[in-house]
Symmetry: C2
Amino acid sequence: MSRAALPPAAPRAPLSVDRIAEAALALIDRDGLAGLSMRRLGQALGVEAMALYHHVPSKGRLLDAVMDRLVLDFDLPAPGSMPALDRLRHGLHAYRQIAIAHPHAFPLLVGRRFNSPGAFAVYERLLQAFAELGLSPAQSARWFRTLGYFVNGAGMADIASREQAPDATPLLLQRQPEALPFPQVAAVAPYLRVDRLDDVFGFGLDMLLQALAQQAAQGQTPAR
Amino acid sequence: MSRAALPPAAPRAPLSVDRIAEAALALIDRDGLAGLSMRRLGQALGVEAMALYHHVPSKGRLLDAVMDRLVLDFDLPAPGSMPALDRLRHGLHAYRQIAIAHPHAFPLLVGRRFNSPGAFAVYERLLQAFAELGLSPAQSARWFRTLGYFVNGAGMADIASREQAPDATPLLLQRQPEALPFPQVAAVAPYLRVDRLDDVFGFGLDMLLQALAQQAAQGQTPAR
DNA sequence: ACCTGAACACCGTTCAAGT
DNA sequence: ACCTGAACACCGTTCAAGT
């Protein structure tokens, strides 16, 4: 019924927040957010569920730890490595890849407040790029949020479009869009398909970064 | 223990999907998404939980019905009422208000696929505005998604920034930002506060609608 | 210090039964 | 046709106990 005890020569690695978070992410990736329970996580780690509470005070804080783990995949180039605008473009594409690589975990980044030191380190790099472009703190805040809104919304849409949840509504859009009583929707539907999501993301991001560059140039060379 | 039976003169209103969805939304608004259970919803409707399954096949489909109810608040002006760009601006501001009015339910709109007839009717109106501006179907799809990413991301950030969930991480940003070891974050933090969210949303939306107008004008008057 | 095991107050959903 | 009640297989978390 239970597995044979390991020999003392290979003792079980001790629990730690990092090890727990890593296992939690793996479980979420495999079974979805709803598939993560303290009991199943304990099982995956070879331990009773209640043992986890010695390292993590609640499931909420465990999810925060998973976010900290996730943000490590946010590959935002360091200042000096390339021009600021390229760093932003590269970084935001990498951020979207988190949504694609971890579709069940990504909503945590969007829906939960994220104020850990690791998160702040990423924010700092983003804001360095804005400052390098000559934006004021007020303008930096606006662009920080605007770009964040875009990439978070894009990631969520990527997930909602791709995911075939067992209770999801049927995908009316993917087949026979011409049968719909909505002519505009029917005409546009082919361009809303999942295989166009890369194109759309690149388009929207370029649109925003162009406007950002334009505004930065204006700020450095005041009109008149 | 149980409430007295109502007299036959005032028979309990019969259940219906709409009545169930309305009660579910009220429950979500009051107690959060996690506070919605079939048992508690039944209780709110004066009925056993299992009675709900005669009108709704699963909790997933119930959530779809709540989305259908929510989208009724999406006040997107009809064609002819005002210029296309103003309709878009008005509609997208109204959409954000859904996030602010129903912070616990809004994530459903962002995270779940939304292909009901009511949703298509809204999509149709949005796409009519793009067509009126002279966008091709391919361009309409790009702008439809780009604007959708922005408003969905903005709504989620509005919620995450405001909500004081019991297990949320502390709000390092709101107080003593100058104590952080991240100079750029410290400088920008005052402009990231909750009381600046209206300003940020207006800014980002204007940025996007400007780019959209610019592109529409180019499309109608081919260069050279 | 770290982990276990029982218990509490919940879940969504199935099923057989009532009217 | 519509609703009930018991049951099944789960939850997060508390608490007292073990080592």
